[in-house]
């Protein structure tokens, strides 16, 4: 056996040392983001869920974006003007806005992107999000020609959007991932393959380099981004971790810097272990129960009110979710700037025991409970350990009123399919997440003509009229007042009753800087840095 010459060994050691020191001097800053699940697509015309938004909003930039605090700020557009009647928005796209291949981002790209979303052949699931654009709905569902869409390129950098009616939340809508632009030339050339790494051309702070399903998505800094100078990360790697407990272990092992979703029933334990790195932000998402108002006994408002007020929301929040969800006594969650403080149900401040007495009184008045007609309720929920715990707790509250309660659960698809197809039920669990920060997103669910989401099959003419008026109102303050009136009616009638607001569970390493909790739950990597 021969030994390698001494000189060679020392040369090798020296060069290795040089390599190492060079590596640490210009060390690449990589953010490892646990992302709560596998995106179903990176195509803005087909995206629908939050874990896609997290990736897409790093890759692309819309006309408006949410800043780290969740406030709307200019994105690809540097400014805009609104016509007096609120129906024409003119956006000035940044001169410096470029695609990752160096080509300028143009108004034409946005026109093409919005038309693509409304094209019935594209069959975009979220096409309705842009229905406020003139003729969008007619194009998408009634075969109107696609060039009739209310989106026009006045010149290369000026985009004019014409609306069906004033839409006070348009700037919020445009920050949604469905409204992100696609590169016209790339989509025309590559078709559905434009989303592939190596092919994708994007205009955001990062560009796609790898996408291995269920393993990772890698995005590197886009040097052509107009604000590249202020982007502090070189690379972001998203991990689609569906198993939340496994994601927590990887965060604890230091493999992840940020992680979206953890098992909320472990919040207390995680706070002990991880301290301030545990973030629970109230979001614009509600957890509610709906009653089938078509039939007895739920067609009687007294029965609905009694059942709604008997639910111990504090118990659900603290015992089932350990603070991972917060009690909600409004139809609209708080945190929407244009709406202000939401209305509350009459019993919001009443003690639980007093509420129970009042509930018994109401039921008796309606002829149910002790000595009256038997009250039988079936609670339906989609199969999930937490929903089961909630249903069990609610059942206990209702049994205390003398009701007989049964539980039925189906997997999530079957559950909602049943409700949407008009299946008869007693009470059922639902969840709703706002697509844009506006009260209408929640109040619009219970308009009687909303065939899909009005699970309660509730019809109140005054409510419908107020909502109709709100759509036509251009004055922000007057509109908010109309919506508040509508919310009061909804809370008095309670065809649906809110139980809790979802909190967004995030783990954020203390190494990560620039993080701010916000209700819209947007956290662009461009605002983050790492020590």
């Amino acid at each position: 056996m021969t030994h390698p010459p001494r000189r060679l060994v020392s040369a090798a050691l020296l060069s290795a040392a040089l390599l190492l020191s060079a590596g640490s001097a210009g060390a690449e800053v990589v953010l490892h983001r646990g992302n709560g699940g596998e995106p179903q697509t990176l195509d803005q015309a087909h995206t629908s869920i939050d874990v896609e938004a997290n990736v897409l909003k790093d890759l692309y930039e819309g006309l408006t974006i949410y800043d780290a605090a969740g406030k709307i700020i200019p994105g690809a557009a540097e400014s805009w003007t609104v016509s007096d009647d609120g129906t024409v928005y003119t956006f000035k796209i940044r001169d410096a806005a470029k695609w990752s291949n160096g080509e300028p981002v143009t108004a034409e790209d946005f026109v093409f992107s919005f038309r693509r979303v409304e094209d019935p052949k594209e069959a975009a699931g979220y096409a309705n999000l842009l229905y406020p654009l003139k003729n969008a709905e007619a194009i998408n569902t009634k075969g109107m020609a696609i060039d009739q869409l209310g989106a026009k390129a006045v010149d290369a950098k000026t985009l004019e959007l014409t609306l069906e009616r004033p839409t006070p939340y348009l700037l919020e809508l445009l920050a949604h991932q469905s409204a992100l632009p696609v590169n016209k030339a790339s989509v025309e050339k590559n078709g559905a393959d434009f989303v592939k790494p190596g092919t994708m051309i994007s205009n955001g702070a990062f560009k796609l380099t790898e996408n291995v399903a269920n393993d990772h998505i890698t995005a590197v800094k886009n040097e052509n981004y107009w604000d590249a100078a202020s982007v502090k990360l070189d690379k972001v790697i998203f991990y689609p971790l569906e198993d939340q407990a496994a994601a927590v272990r990887r965060f604890q092992a230091g493999e992840l810097d940020v992680n979206y979703y953890f098992p909320t029933d472990q919040t207390d334990y995680l706070r002990q272990q991880l301290g301030d790195q545990v973030h629970m932000t109230p979001s614009l998402a509600s957890y509610y129960y709906t009653f089938d108002t078509r039939t007895e006994p739920f067609n009687d408002v007294r029965v609905r009110k009694a059942l709604a007020m008997a639910i111990d929301r504090d118990f659900l929040s603290e015992e089932v979710f350990q603070g991972g969800q917060l009690p909600l006594y409004s139809a609209v969650p708080p945190g929407i700037a244009s709406y202000g403080e939401p209305e509350k149900v009459s019993y919001a401040e009443t003690d639980q025991l007093d509420r129970e007495d009042e509930a018994k009184r109401l039921l008796k008045e309606a002829g149910y409970g002790e000595g009256g007609k038997p009250l039988k309720i079936d609670i339906r929920y989609n199969t999930n350990a937490n929903h089961e715990k909630v249903a069990t707790a609610v059942a206990d509250n209702w049994k205390a009123l003398g009701a007989t309660v049964t539980l039925t659960n189906l997997d999530v698809k079957s559950h909602y399919a049943y409700l949407q197809e008009g299946g008869a039920y007693g009470a059922a669990r639902c969840g709703w997440t706002a697509d844009y920060a506006d009260a209408e997103s929640f109040l619009g669910l219970n308009i009687s003509t909303n065939k899909t989401f009005n699970y309660a099959h509730w019809k109140n003419e005054k409510y419908d009229a107020l909502m109709a008026q709100s759509y036509a109102e251009t004055d922000q303050a007057k509109r908010a007042a109309l919506l508040h009136e509508a919310e009061k009616i909804l809370l008095a009638e309670e065809p649906v009753t809110s139980l809790m607001i979802y909190a967004s569970p995030w783990l954020v390493s203390s190494k990560v800087k620039g993080w701010q909790d916000n209700a819209v739950n947007d956290h662009l990597s461009k605002f983050l840095s790492k020590e």
């Binding site: 291995v212 991990y239 496994a246 272990r249 092992a253 989609n382 189906l410 399919a417």
Partner: protein, 295 residues
């Protein structure tokens, strides 16, 4: 072939009977948008027509688009994830067979001794403790507490990343092999031809390795086919716990999401594995047991 055809046909119609569809979501789509999507995926055609189209496409190697993972076709998803599952499954299979057979032989030779009881208690634990317990415990101990190994992910595919998932995946099967081997080994050692061999004065080692083992391997080999099919086509539990991008999860996710084509793709894949592996086992069987060859 007839088996595969039957599997495809039955599962094609079975999945369609499940309520809901690929596009029914927690927040449902407006009906007209739903119509656009159903048309785009040709789900508006009569079922028999969809079935014939599907057969035609599969016969031409096209498993169709995934309804849920839009950016990939079912074929691409399978091709991307199968190598991960095959690699992990192979390691787990080797570990399970070698470890299990070795443990079983040792236990059989020391029947009712301390080693036997120890091996069998561990094997019983291995069979009864599900891997969704073993996996997190391994990860918690070796990654979070000791920081020796990564908590999850495929990483660069090196041993560091694969060690824990391989053990978690192999353990229940290893236990089965150990129990099987012990049982058949004890039986084989009592057989007449072994007593004869011993009487001829052959060494203990020669008797065990060349004569007893051969007979004892038969039940093990017959268990090999279903075991290999299960390990090689991925385990949704292990994949979720360790973040392995394998094929196992598609079976479960496909079914829950009503991703018809994805479910069909995984069903066909698993069916092919089982059919092929059974064939391999039949051939091995004939090699091991001359009686079968002569039939």
């Amino acid at each position: 072939m007839p088996t595969l055809f039957a599997v495809v046909t039955i599962s094609f119609f079975l999945i369609r009977f499940a309520p809901g569809g690929p596009f029914s979501l927690e927040r449902p789509l407006p009906p007209q948008i739903m119509e656009n999507m159903i048309r785009a995926y040709r789900l508006d055609l009569p079922l028999w027509r969809q079935y014939l189209d599907y057969l035609w496409n599969v016969a031409h190697g096209d498993f169709g688009p995934s309804y849920i993972y839009r950016d990939f076709s079912v074929g691409q998803l399978m091709m991307q994830s199968l190598p991960y599952s095959l690699q992990l499954g192979t390691y787990a299979l080797i570990l399970a067979v070698l470890g299990g057979v070795a443990a079983g032989v040792v236990a059989a030779l020391r029947q009712n001794g301390i080693v036997d009881y120890l091996v069998m208690s561990v094997a019983t634990v291995g069979v009864t403790v599900p891997n969704f317990v073993v996996g997190p415990v391994l990860s918690l101990v070796f990654a979070v507490l000791l920081s020796w190994l990564p908590a999850g992910g495929w990483g660069d595919g090196s041993a560091r990343f694969l060690l824990l998932p391989t053990i978690a995946l192999a353990l229940p099967q290893l236990a089965v092999f150990a129990r099987l081997t012990r049982g058949s080994m004890i039986e084989a050692l009592r057989a007449d031809h072994i007593r004869t061999a011993r009487a001829y004065g052959l060494s203990r080692r020669a008797v065990v390795v060349t004569h007893a083992m051969r007979g004892a391997l038969l039940p093990i080999v017959s268990y090999l086919a279903p075991c290999a099919a299960a390990l090689l086509t991925g385990s949704v539990v292990i994949e979720e716990i360790f973040g392995i991008p394998g094929v196992g999860r598609y079976f479960v996710q496909g079914a829950l999401n009503r991703d018809y084509t994805l479910v069909m793709g995984t069903v066909v894949l698993i069916a092919v594995f089982i059919v092929v592996l059974n064939l391999v086992v039949d051939i091995l069987y004939a090699q091991l047991d001359p009686r079968i060859r002569h039939d």
